[in-house]
Symmetry: C2
């Protein structure tokens, strides 16, 4: 069976749990509390030298880090990743957009405010996070004009990756009311068969 090292409130971990649910693939969940430093212990650094969850461990012991690389690996040969070469590249474009232009603002604002409860301590840096996060949301809103999903008009891992932190963006004080296409897309994603909630670790 697959093993997933994960932290349930993590959107990065949630991406993998959501896809595993939709693929109907059972897995053993090993929780690591990042707030307690459990991903920076020598034991965990032997699993992922970069000290981050999620990490997927295959049946034969091989390990894979980086949430969006895990998504791509699990989705190959399934309906969640297109077969067309250019469409696969478009999926990767959105996965890199998510990790570079979206997560570092939207997930980090949520982490500081909602997970750490340190809104005041990070007030000066939050302005920048909100500004950049809204830039990313504007790019998504524009792309969704006339589209139901991010690539090829079919639900897949680009949607999963972007959904993970967008659907909890309000926990980082991002107001989504000005993004009607994003809100409609969030509803479409939540309506997909096999959908699970972010804190639903075992299903």
């Amino acid at each position: 069976m697959l093993t997933l090292y994960d932290y349930l409130p993590s959107g990065n971990g949630y991406k993998v749990r959501l896809l595993l649910s939709q693929l109907g693939r059972p897995f053993e969940l090993v929780e690591k509390d990042i707030l307690k430093g459990e991903t920076r212990t020598p034991e965990f650094l032997a699993i992922n030298p970069n000290g981050r969850i999620p990490v997927l461990v295959l049946e034969d012991g091989r390990r894979l880090a980086e949430s969006d690389a895990i998504l791509f690996y699990l989705a190959e040969g399934t309906p969640y990743l297109p077969e067309d070469r250019f469409e696969r590249a478009e999926v990767l474009q959105w996965l890199f957009f998510e990790q570079y232009s979206h997560e570092p603002s939207i997930a980090v604002a949520r982490f500081w405010i909602h997970s750490l409860g340190k809104r005041t301590e990070w007030a000066a840096r939050l302005e920048e996070k909100w500004q950049r996060g809204h830039q990313a949301l504007a790019v998504m809103e524009r792309h969704l004009d006339g589209r139901r999903f991010f690539v090829g008009e079919r639900y897949g891992i680009a949607d999963i990756a972007l959904y993970a932190y967008t659907h909890v963006a309000e926990e980082g004080e991002f107001d989504l009311s000005g993004y009607p296409r994003i809100r409609a897309w969030l509803d479409r994603v939540a309506d997909q068969p096999g959908h699970v909630m972010i804190t639903q670790g075992v299903f």
Copy 2:
């Protein structure tokens, strides 16, 4: 012919130029000076709504953004990307590591110091960039223990992506003298057939 919107000092653009050189694929270079705001004009935002270079335009007009997605697209079916599914996922793991844990520290420190000449203005934030950048370099140094290249003991796009900003890290005041394996790997990458320099736009 392929068209590449790019800015020559950019490591992200350089990744694509280096691979195109090694693949022997000619391309038309369209330079956009990010320091002059040329990637934030309405004209350029119509090409990439996220306002970043590089952007690859195919012969049929289709466009692709995000340097590492472009690398993956161009490398499929060539010796620069493994055919094995798990090795491809390992390549992606390193590409996401580069964009999330490496580039935002090492490239940004270089940009502030070397490109903008604003070392003093950004002094407070540079400490954090140096700390995180050295964490990323330490992960690379550890991985290169007993390895010649990042994935499958074969030069490929994981090496290209990590080389781009590592080989100019000293322009961001990262001292590489404590990373002997990284320095030996930089030399191996520079020795590959078809190698070009970062500012060598046309070849």
